[in-house]
């Protein structure tokens, strides 16, 4: 313990012998880490925002589909008897909110034109809690429970159809019995999410009206759920699947139904990893250079330590401890700088053009508000210290292998 104490003391004092060089090394670690934390925060905040928007506007965290459904976006099969599923969902403590939907393609007509759309039949009360679609209403209002003939459409679609609030819209579909079915609705509200897909191609009607239109009785396409703790999604999926094992249904997570988001996430994570390797590669070279220069300057001193009875492992440990100190100090500085940036852009937001890209498919804010990516922050911080230690291995080994007499002659 005493030896470690003195080595710690020596290492700490050694790194401050050449303050300028240490400052430059610390700056390289700190700026590298700061850049990485900032980038990780942008990517993770973006991913979280995409996931949040996706699950809160459409999919929810967990969904129950008919076993025969293959297209999870526009389910072609329906759950014929949803009552046991409603009951099971209500008994599952992990579920916070839930709601059924009936989804199908149809034709809507105004006095002026017709257009193919995706019709989503919703339980207005449950959907209001489950998703945020009501919050995008810019004109008119949301569908009330008793309003059987209200319809919500996007501003873009309304413009294309040339319809205004309160005007009539006819929805036509082919019913499940093969007949052509039509219902008259009145435009109750216009929503504007910013997503051309949502605003131009999706309409919301009450679930009961949708079922009547499709002549499908109580059938639904999907039950979406919002969980209390999304981290426990796999366990909730397992529990629900067990509860419903006798029903002809499948329980899927948002990852399975929104695999394109998962693909984006994986691609971004891979880029993050490459950037991490590049940044820490550069940082490692800087630290290696510092430690090697410091080693060559102190060969005589290491020789003295060995001559006085220090073991080679002590000398090597000294260099490694110096690297640990550099790594830890750099990590702390990098975290402070990175955190300040994340806090600033967490409050003020950062406009990103990717919002336009993602926003085509789903409602998405064009400003990203940064949040701490804790897991990545811890990983990168440890990587900074580890990089520093790895950079010290070669100088440490050189020091441990010094010939004492030769080292003492070194100037």
């Amino acid at each position: 313990m005493n030896k470690i104490n003195i080595l710690v003391k020596l290492a700490w004092r050694n790194i401050w012998r050449n303050k300028r060089r240490t400052a430059i090394t610390l700056a390289s670690i700190a700026f590298g880490l700061c850049a990485l934390l900032f980038q990780q925060s942008i990517i993770k905040s973006l991913q979280n925002q995409i996931i949040e928007k996706s699950t809160r506007t459409y999919t929810g965290h967990l969904q129950v589909f008919s076993k025969e459904t293959t297209d999870l976006k526009v389910p072609e099969a329906r759950i014929e008897n949803p009552s046991p599923i409603y009951a099971a969902v209500q008994t599952l403590p992990d579920v916070d909110l839930w709601g059924p939907k009936l989804i199908f393609t149809g034709l809507i007509s105004s006095p002026f034109t017709s257009k193919g759309v995706l019709v989503v039949g919703i339980d207005p009360l449950k959907e209001k809690e489950l998703t945020t679609i009501h919050s995008y209403i810019v004109e008119g209002g949301y569908i009330e429970p008793a309003e059987e003939r209200s319809i919500l459409i996007g501003v873009k679609l309304a413009k294309e159809m040339d319809v205004k609030l309160g005007e009539k819209i006819v929805v036509m579909v082919q019913g499940s019995d093969g007949s052509l079915s039509a219902e008259l609705f009145r435009l109750k509200g216009l929503f504007q999410t910013g997503s051309p897909v949502y605003d131009g191609q999706i309409v919301y009607v009450p679930l009961s009206s949708a079922q009547r239109l499709l002549v499908c009785g109580e059938e639904i396409s999907v039950i979406s759920m919002h969980l209390k703790n999304v981290e426990a999604i796999e366990s909730a999926q397992e529990k629900l699947a067990k509860l419903l094992e006798r029903e002809p249904v499948q329980v899927v997570t948002w990852r399975e139904s929104s695999h394109e988001i998962v693909s984006i996430q994986k691609f971004q994570d891979a880029i993050l990893l490459i950037v991490l390797v590049i940044i820490f590669g550069i940082v490692a070279l800087g630290i290696f250079n510092t430690l090697l220069m410091s080693f060559f300057e102190r060969i005589r001193e290491f020789g003295l330590m060995l001559a006085l009875g220090s073991k080679p492992i002590h000398v090597a440990t000294l260099i490694l401890l110096e690297a640990v100190f550099l790594g830890i100090l750099g990590m702390v500085l990098g975290n402070i700088l990175g955190s300040l940036l994340i806090l600033y852009f967490g409050k003020n937001g950062i406009p990103l053009p990717i919002g336009d890209v993602v926003g085509y498919w789903m409602p998405f804010d064009k400003v990203i508000y940064l949040k701490f990516a804790w897991k990545e922050l811890i990983f990168s911080s440890l990587a900074a210290v580890l990089t520093s230690i790895l950079s010290a291995i070669f100088p440490a080994m050189r020091a441990a292998r010094l010939q004492v007499a030769q080292a003492l002659r070194h100037y």
């Binding site: 050694n14 009875g309 080679p312």
Partner: protein
Amino acid sequence: MEQFKFGKCKISLSNVRKVYESKGENVEALRGLSLEINPGEFLAIAGPSGSGKSTLLNLLGGLDKPTSGKIFFGEKDLGSLTNAQLCVLRLFTIGFIFQSYNLLPILTAVENVEYVMLLQEMDPVMRRQKALEMLGEVGLSSMAHRRPLELSGGQQQRVAVARAIVSHPLVVLADEPTANLDSHTATALLDLMAHLNATKNITFVFSSHDPLVLSRAKRIIRLHDGQIE
């Protein structure tokens, strides 16, 4: 920690050769040297630069290994010891004083003196007390908490002496200990070493070509071209 029990042993060199390779050529620094050093000696190794004085001290201190020949500490052949065992030998039996001070620059005077005792795993309180006492003996009590750069050359060399003898080694090896000192400081240092030799019976072996140093030695071995004259 493994320790060696050497007692007050004799140091013997038998036909020791040391060859260095320099720029592709072999340079023979010691040519078949045989020598015996008795416990408690105050021995000077004299000779011009390049005569092999420092090489001999390095071999005696286990800092280097001979190309051929044997060096014995009592019954123990240094050539048979591993590097780790040589570390322990140096730690417990040999004190070093080098030509150019060789203090650890980031430690204070008292910490430098403590360093060897710390490696010996001595109790921290006792260690500090002994280091301060030893600094007192070399007249540096008031400089105990200064770093080497804040000390004069003579003061630094006295700290090195204090460090060399604080843990009562059997032998102190001093390589040109007065080379960088003025005559007044050199005399004081020699007085100190002679005093320690007389009172603590520590064997002193120092290399020098300084007449002042040689005049104080009880025995002088003169080297020339790696051989005893």
